[in-house]
Structure formats: C-alpha cells, structure tokens
C-alpha cells in the first residue's frame, strides 16, 4: 500500500508552519518503503497533483475555528468538508472541490484521506516558530499519526 503523509503550511508564517514541523518529527522516526513524508505549501488543484497515485493520504494542517482552543487536534475526513462546494480562496479551490474534480476527470485518487487539523493562534506574523500551545501539540500530533500508520 502506498501511503502519503503530507504536511501543509508555510514555514515562515508562525503557526502556519505546524504541518511542516510534524513532518520533520515524523522523518526522524519513520521510514518505510511504501511511505512518503512530504511538506508542501500547495492547495486546491496543486494538492490534487500531489495526492494522485497514493492509496492512503494523511494530511496535517493548521486550522482556525470560531472559539477553538489552541493546540486542540481534530481528526477529520473529507465528508467534513463537503457541505457546500464554494470557492475557498480566489486562487484555488478547496479540497472537497478538488477531489470532486479529480473524480470527474478520472484521476486516480486515494481511497482514504484523513486530515489531522491543529487549532492554531497566529498565522499572520512572520516567524519560524509556533506559539507555545501549538508547539506543545506537535508531539501529540506525531503520535496520533504514528498510531494511524501502525494500523496499516
């Protein structure tokens, strides 16, 4: 089985780097022929390019929800995002729409997509570090993903 663990984010925008940080920790711990660990700043259609050809994809990203508690980790799947198919950003399309598009065009999509989203505080200040609550969530996110991988 080909598995991709994909950390999304921006390495210089503070908490938005958390996805990259988790991948860096995983790289120290995991190595397996069927496993790819990747960092990317892509979104929408660009994401579609990256996930094609894998059986299972685990995505790690920062999230901000109304009233959310910093450091909390959500385990989500694409059904959580399929409510409406609005545009998520002017430059791209959200994950749900990208997947729907991929399906329509007959692109080889993963059978399973899981998203680990970490509630963050600040994604608008340039910094290579995360805020403390988010830093503390990184080891927990790593072990949640490790557990997810060991089940395969």
């Amino acid at each position: 089985m080909k598995t991709l663990v994909l950390g999304l984010g921006n390495p210089i925008l503070g908490d938005d780097s958390v996805g990259f940080r988790v991948i860096q920790e995983l790289k120290d711990k995991f190595s397996h022929p069927g496993l790819t660990l990747m960092e990317s700043s892509a979104s929408g259609l660009g994401l579609l390019d990256l996930i094609t050809g894998y059986d299972k994809v685990i995505i790690i990203d920062a999230i901000q929800t109304e009233g959310g508690q910093a450091g909390k980790i959500y385990r989500l799947n694409t059904e959580n995002f399929s409510g409406t198919r609005h545009l998520g950003s002017p430059h791209s399309i959200n994950l749900a729409t990208a997947l729907e598009l991929g399906k329509k065009l007959g692109i080889a999509l993963p059978q399973q997509i899981i998203i680990f989203a970490i509630e963050v505080v600040d994604v608008t200040t340039f910094s290579e570090k995360c805020t403390p609550e988010v830093e503390q969530a990184i080891p927990l996110a790593v072990s949640m993903i490790a557990e997810e991988l060991s089940g395969d």
């Binding site: 921006n10 210089i12 700043s41 579609l48 409406t84 545009l87 791209s92 598009l101 994604v123």
Partner: protein, 487 residues
C-alpha cells in the same frame, strides 16, 4: 500597532472582508475593503544574508512564489552591482513564462471564468470549476489540469524544486538547461499555445457572444477611469520579467517611465485610519481620495493595466488578440474592470508564445549562466510584473550583504485603492432602497473585485463554504442586516 479610530464593528484581525454601510434611506453610505495584514516582515528579514531573500520571500505566498523569487533575485543583481549573462536572463524569463501560464489558467477557470460561464445569478454551489466543466465539457477540464501540470513540471525542472524554485542567484541562476530538457519545454510550450488559443475561443463563445455579459462588461457600474502601470520592454511591449515601469494617464498618454531604482520618486503610500493596509498612489499627481480621473493619483496594475500601459504585445498571436480586444471595446485605454478577464487570457497566450520563443532561442542551453559579483553590496531594487501587478523588492544591506532593511510593495497592494472604489461603485449601483439583497446581488458586488485576482496569502487554508472576502451589509444603526456567507 496603529489605533483604528473608526467604527467599532470594523474587525481587522484574521479575515479580509468587505463592509457595506447603508444610510437611513437604505442607500450605500460607504464601503470598506479590508485585508488581513501579514506582520513583522521587516523584523524577520533583518540580520539575514541578502542571498536568502529569494528563498524566504517566495514563502510569503503559496500562489505566486516565482514572482517574489524573481523580484528578489533582480534586487540582488542590483544590490551586488552585477549584470547576469543573457542566457541566465532568458532562463529566468522562461521559468517565469511557464509560471504565468499556470497562474492565469488557474485564475480564469477557477475564479474569473465561473461568473461568466455559469452566469452571475447561478447558485453559488455551481459557480466553480465543477459547474464550468459541466457546461464546457470534461475535455476542457482535462486540458486545464494538463496545462497546469506540464508547466509546473517546467518550473520544477528549470527551477530545481516544485513550487519554490532554488534558482535565482545574484548575477545569474543555479542551473543550466540541457538539450533533452529544452525539447520537453518546447513541446509543452506548443501545447500551451494551443491551450491559450482555445481559452480565448471559450471566452469569445461564452462571454462575447452573450449580449447580457457584454452589457455588464461595458456598464458604468464596473468602470473606472484611472492611471495604469506596467513593465514594458525597450519597444514598449508588455514584459513580465524586465524593463522599465511605464505609467499612462486615463486618456492613455504616457505619464511616466522609470527604472526600478527610481520607484520612490513616483509612488508613495497613503494611510487611512480604518485600515492597516496602505494605499499606493502616484506622487506626482497626489492623493485626492478614492476617486477616478486625471487629477487623482489612484492607479491600477495587473493584466488590463499592463495592456493599457504598453503599445502592444511582443508575440504575434497575442498581438492579434490585443488588437481585437481594443477594437471591440472602443479603443485604448479600456477602463472596464471586467475586461481584466479578457486581458488575462491575452497574457496567457503571450506567456505561452514567449515560452516557445525562449525554448527555441539558440542561447537557452548555454552553460554561461552566472557572473560572480565582486562589488560591495549596499542597496538594490528589483521589479517584476507579478500576475496580480507590479511587484517591488527593495533591500538595504551592510557591506557584508546582511539585510538592514527590506521593503516590499506587493502586487495586489497597488490595486488596493481601485478595489475599494470598484466595490463601492458596484454596491452603490446595485443596492437601492426597497431592493432585496439577494445572493445574486452580492455576487455581482464580488464580481467587482474578482477581476483583480487578489492575492491574500492568509486565505490558503480557508475552510470551504466561505468566500475569500465575506460581504457584510449594515443599516444606518450599524446593525448587521445581511451577510454572505450567512453564519
């Protein structure tokens, strides 16, 4: 952090948005276009070696990293007083042309196109690329994906890494092109030219042949008579990578033409109390407020502005398309904001033709790709045309090349005043007392800013269901009466 003195409802943290305030009669009193501010870049870059800036600045935005990468690289050329060998310049422009193909394709088919192809009153759930494909066919959808993927492959191959190239150096580039790679680029470029022609045909069939859309394009609600700015080559033709900055007035006459180092003599920034964002304007005209006209220093950038500011396109098919647009819309300059979508497709074709030209250039596989700098660095300015407009990087360093100060004027910022005005005008034209504020109406207000192809990096991880810029309508008592999306 500056204190914001207006309206406590104005929420500036986190999300960008558009706020529309109505008076007692139910007419639009004022509108405000807000973007989230990315903070602390100056502090972040201080103390770093300037050579790192092409890597760092391209991380600011996941959408147009190549633009920052090249503006930064050119700033380094200037900083170190070094002139790259011509093969290096051509390779930079080759990579950049491939990037333009991907970026303009993405904007038209994902953002701009749906409004026209599905129609402004189509339900939001259909006004996206899925709706487009349902209407124009799977084959075109496949062509969009293929064109993007192929040109991203060129960027990866030429630039050394996907999305974020490791390519630009002061005095040149890090990697030459070999003959095998060159052949690949040439083939992809040919396919891209065909795709560019096809896209203009789609626009012609679906938009230009539809009277309702043409009426909307030329309507006063979406028109502003401003100055226009863009980079031009020595023949005053549009060039994305290099040249001089040219500004024309609302009648199309050349107002200014300057080299990157002179930008501070021409552009200043105006501050408003209700926004962290500053509004660039033409210093030699002056700030007269958010108004049109020859006496107002407001200027616009990006595709339509570039075509207005130039005398033509440097490649034949794009030139033909350029002439057709101007003859259809009544001559130069064109002031219709919605025509930006058309201009963008003309640029898409140009980028593909330019890519093909460069791939066939006898020098493009030359190993002579770097001139090593020897002078002491001090200050440098680099300007390119990002898809969203003129992008300026300005660095001041010590004698070791360590950054003391880094100033960026990002492309979208140049359009900030115009976007505010466009939203304002559309809102005033559409919101009248007694008329119900429907989703379709608010979408027509959104159509006023979408052509500008705003780059708001923070929105990259926006949850689905939320348009990038929510619109909030308030009555005269400051009570929220309508929000799109509702939540």
């Amino acid at each position: 952090m500056r204190k914001i003195t207006i309206d406590p409802i104005t929420r500036l943290e986190g999300h960008g948005k558009i706020e529309i305030f109505l008076n007692d009669a139910g007419e639009v009193e004022n509108t405000y276009f807000q973007v989230p501010e990315l903070r602390g870049f100056e502090k972040f870059s201080e103390g770093r070696p300037a050579e790192e800036l092409p890597q760092i600045t391209q991380r600011i935005c996941g959408v147009c990293p190549e633009a920052h990468h090249l503006a930064s690289t050119k700033a380094l050329d200037d900083l170190f007083h070094v002139d790259p060998p011509t093969p290096a310049k051509k390779l930079r422009e080759l990579l950049y042309s491939a990037f333009y193909v991907t970026d303009h394709t993405t904007h038209f088919y994902i953002l701009g196109g749906p409004d026209f192809i599905m129609g402004p009153d189509a339900p939001v759930a259909e006004r996206n690329i899925l709706g487009v494909i349902a209407k124009v066919g799977l084959e075109l959808g496949g062509a969009v994906i293929k064109t993007r993927m192929q040109n991203h492959h060129i960027i990866h191959m030429v630039g050394g890494r996907a999305v974020h190239p490791v390519f630009g150096l002061p005095g040149g580039v890090s990697k030459a092109l070999n003959e095998e790679e060159r052949k690949e680029v040439e083939q992809i470029a040919r396919d891209s030219v065909e795709f560019g022609k096809l896209s203009l045909k789609v626009f012609d069939d679906i938009v230009l042949k539809n009277k309702e859309y043409v009426d909307m394009i030329v309507s006063d609600a979406y028109t502003h008579r401003t100055y226009y700015m863009g980079l031009v080559d020595e023949n005053n033709k549009v060039n994305f990578y290099d040249g001089k900055v040219r500004v024309v007035d609302p009648e199309g006459k050349e107002f200014a033409k300057y080299a990157p180092r002179e930008y501070l003599e021409h552009v200043a920034e105006h501050v408003e109390p209700w926004s962290y964002m500053k509004f660039p304007f033409l210093k030699n005209v002056g700030w007269k407020g958010f108004v049109d006209g020859k006496d107002s220093g407001v200027f616009r950038v990006a595709p339509l502005a570039r075509l207005n500011a130039a005398d033509g396109m440097a490649t034949p098919l794009a030139q033909e398309a350029y002439e057709k647009m101007y003859s259809t819309l009544g001559g130069k300059p064109v002031h219709y904001t919605l025509a930006m979508h058309w201009a963008r497709l003309i640029e898409l074709l140009y980028a593909a033709e330019r890519l093909l030209e460069l791939s066939q250039d006898p020098e493009i596989t030359s190993p002579d790709i770097r001139t090593i700098p020897t002078a002491v660095p001090d200050e440098g300015v680099g300007i390119v045309e990002a898809p969203r407009g003129t992008l300026t990087h300005h660095y001041v360093t010590d004698e070791r090349g360590v950054i003391k100060k880094a100033n960026l004027i990002v492309a979208t910022l140049n359009n900030a005043a115009a976007v505010n005005m466009s939203v304002n005008k559309a809102a005033r034209a559409l919101i009248k007392p007694g008329i119900e504020i429907t989703e379709g109406l608010l979408n027509r207000i959104e159509m006023a800013w979408r052509p500008y192809d705003l780059c708001l990096a923070c929105a990259t991880h926006n949850l689905p269901g939320h348009p990038l810029l929510p619109i909030e309508v308030y009555d005269s008592k400051r009570k929220l009466i309508k929000r799109f999306p509702e939540h």
